[in-house]
């Protein structure tokens, strides 16, 4: 495994895609982008990431529903999913965690600590390093 790991960013807003990619790449991660649930599933099949950053509001199937599917699928359930969303009202964090997210980061992000936060979720992942049967 080269670098710090592969992160799949599921996000439909172009500006935010670019921002998250720029910040993560500065931190040394490799980044794959997906603009919708379908694209994300495709990416998951082709190159399973170490972590998924999940926007909630997506065209078509929303991010929480996609998270539930990822968590229900034995092939992908070990990959930690972190919600990255502008839904920052009371209860939104619980919604995300109930859907199976390992964590929740609200927008706007702090680019100075964002990399650390992501790294933390990777380190905390109990499934890290475990061999996943495909």
């Amino acid at each position: 495994m080269t670098g710090k790991g592969l992160i799949l960013v599921v996000e439909d807003n172009e500006a935010n895609q670019m921002l998250v990619r720029a910040v993560l790449e500065l931190e040394g991660y490799r980044v794959e982008l997906a603009g919708s649930a379908d694209e994300a599933l495709e990416q998951l099949r082709d190159s399973p990431p170490d972590l998924i950053l999940m926007d909630v509001q997506l065209p078509g199937e929303d991010g929480l529903s996609l998270t539930r599917r990822i968590k229900a699928d034995p092939a992908t359930c070990a990959i930690p999913v972190v919600a990255l969303t502008a839904h920052a009202m009371t209860g939104d964090r619980e919604l995300a965690l109930n859907a199976g997210c390992a964590g929740y980061i609200s927008k706007p992000i702090d680019t100075r600590t964002f990399g650390l936060q992501v790294t933390q979720y990777l380190v905390d992942n109990p499934n890290r390093g475990r061999v996943v049967a495909l």
Binding site: M18, L19, Q57, D62, A86, K107, P108, D110, T111, R112
Partner: protein, 865 residues
Amino acid sequence: MKELVPYLQDATAVAFVALGVVTALTWLRRRDRSLAFLALAIILLSAVSGLGRLQAHISIMLPFLGPIELLAFVGTAYALLLYRNSLIPLPRRWHAAALVSLVAASVLIVAALALSLNRVLLTVIAVGFVLVWSACVAEPALRFWLAARRLPAVQAWRLRSLSLGFGGIVAVLLFAVSVGLLVRQPVIQVVVEVVVLAIIPLLYASFSPPAWLRRQWRAEEEEGLRGFMEDLLVSEDRDALASRAVEWAMRLVGGGSAVLFDASGKPTTSRGLEAAQVAAIGVDAAGLDEGLNRIRLDGVDRNALSVPVKGLTASANLVVLAGPFTPTFGGEETTRMQQLMSAFVTALDRRQLIQELEQSNAALMEANKHKSVFLANMSHELRTPLNSIIGFSELLTDARDGQFDEATRKRFVGQIMTSGKHLLGLINDILDLSKVEAGQMELRLNVMSVAESVDQVIKTVEPLAAKKSITLKSSAADAGDVLADPGKVKQMLLNLVSNAIKFTSEGGSVTISALRLKDMLEISVADTGIGIADADQKSIFQEFHQLDQGPGRKHEGTGLGLALTRRFALLHGGDVRVTSRVNKGSVFTLILPIRVGAPPALAPVPVAKNGHGSGPLVLVVEDDPAAAELLTRQLVAAGYRTEVARTGSEALARARQLQPAAITLDIILPEVDGWEVITRLKSDEETSRIPIVVVSVVDNPELGLALGAIDYLVKPIEASDLIERLNRFNLKRVSAQDGIRVLVVDDEPANRTLLTKALEPAGFTVFPASGGREAIELAKSLQPDLVLLDLMMPEVTGFDVVEALRANESTRDTPIMVLTATSLSEADKRLLNGRVSKILSRGSVATTDIVGLLKRVVAHRNGLT
């Protein structure tokens, strides 16, 4: 014991006579035909008793006393039979048989007495006579008793007392015949007299029961009524309740039938009446007095109680008619009926009010829910662009030299700009909505070309449509002109068209077409998109309403666009309609009146010739005598009294002293300036409630003092918008060689640079000035074609600059364009923290508007106090 008997006999006789006299008097007073036979029976019975006792006290034998007494005795029985016949008809055969028996028995006994028959025979005949008499009296008594079993309490008790009274007489008589005549025991005689004495009140009660007794009879019904009152609180069915209320009113007062008329006189429910009878009562119903009435029904006068029923949500008139068994109607019954009906109608009102409360509560909850959803959406919508604005700026700020190449940096900055613009659009929508909601959105009406507007909108959305390969078509060339606010029309169309594009999938089409009708202009935007279900078509125009809500909704937006569009259309006197089929597409039609009608006339204010009439007093604070004169004339012509204050300190003193209905205030004043005056007026309890209208500079060309700016712009300024506006004014050039010379006055260097960058490429020559003083100097020396002026500057303000330029011969005609942070009124309002009712911007408001505004302000104030 023996000595007691004659006294008791006397007492009985006296009581009977009293009963007869009272009954006769009562009947004469009321002349109630239905009670005539009963009255007669009672009077005759008392006559028998009285005459019999009279004979015992006088020594001489009165002639014919025996026959008279006999006749009265027989008459009693027959009168009671007739009364029974009037209430419960007696079969003709029985009637005849009774009459014949009575006559025969009477003739026999008279004959037996006259012929002095032997004792045994006489006794036999006498017993036969008594039996016949008793049968004729006992039959009605028994019949009444049986009838009472099926009747409500009040009527039943009246019949029972009648039955007991006459039945008692029969019993006593038969007892006396069988026992008393044979065994003349004093004890038995005493018992008989006492029983008879007890019977007398019963007879009276059956004829004319007193109020207290009727109340007692009613007590039994009151028990049952409680259940109805409980039902009143819970039952939903108004008609069923009304019907039961009528039933209970009838039972309570012992009425025979009843009908309830609604407020318009239409019968709503009735009991014991046929349709024709109800109609007949209805004819008289309106003319009935409250309380006791006589109603002629089927040729018979009937007693009736009429009670008006008044409530918040229902009013009616209840009429209860006396039936055959009804005891007396009186004030007591009227009162009780009123009590019942007002309790009934109060319960109906209560139910109605609760329903209304529940409905409005549900509507409020719904609105509140929408607001919460809106807030959540808004938070999301604001955070999304903020994420890239803050994120990219942080990245750029923190970047080491050479970390990002030039292209990357440009992309980052481009994202910041795009997101910033998006955010601005969002905030403008919110502000627009709050303005519309506060009733502060004003239209700037102009004659505008529909085709031009449509073209502009199409140009704006072309890139958006091209991205989704959506075909844009338009046909608006023949739509002509319309009087409307061009900015708002464009905004409405833009909204409808971008919605159409948003909800149409790739390869679809969006068509804008304008149709000119007689008074209306219809601009429709048709798409081939996802469509809207019928059930949702109404709610899409509600503020804060989006069809797909919550996380995962497919389409971005604040949920304000359509609501705003509709509000704008309504402001124009038009509307927005939608027709749509799911998966086929939608057509949104914007309807605008071709000529917006005159604003609704304001309530006329009494006209006062000079400043001393009766209209509301306006304190005009203005240092310029000419401007003060102009304002005063306009106000007096509109019916106000006016007083003028020329300085700030004078204004403060006079406001306290005069307590005017409103104050018009110039901002530029000697001594104490306008802002200070407002602050002091608002901090003084005595003057804090007086509305203030700021008239910073009055547009008054008549006096050659038109200090008005020709236009104003709102920051942040779009360069293209600025150029377009400048070109529109066809500015006069001082020197033909140069471009148009613009003096840009702004204390913020960034703004000066921005304006210069925007203007120079378009061929303008820009002269920057960083303050008011410099601006005045430059304006005099350079003689620019236009001054772009920021109003809010330290030291010498934009207001000062305007004044100075107007006062100078060489710069008097130089056009001035005012730049403010937001629209002038909004900015100044914020500065004043909402303490000013209204601020007028110069040049854009005609003098008539000031008068109209004052009227509104004064009317509002009067409405409050």
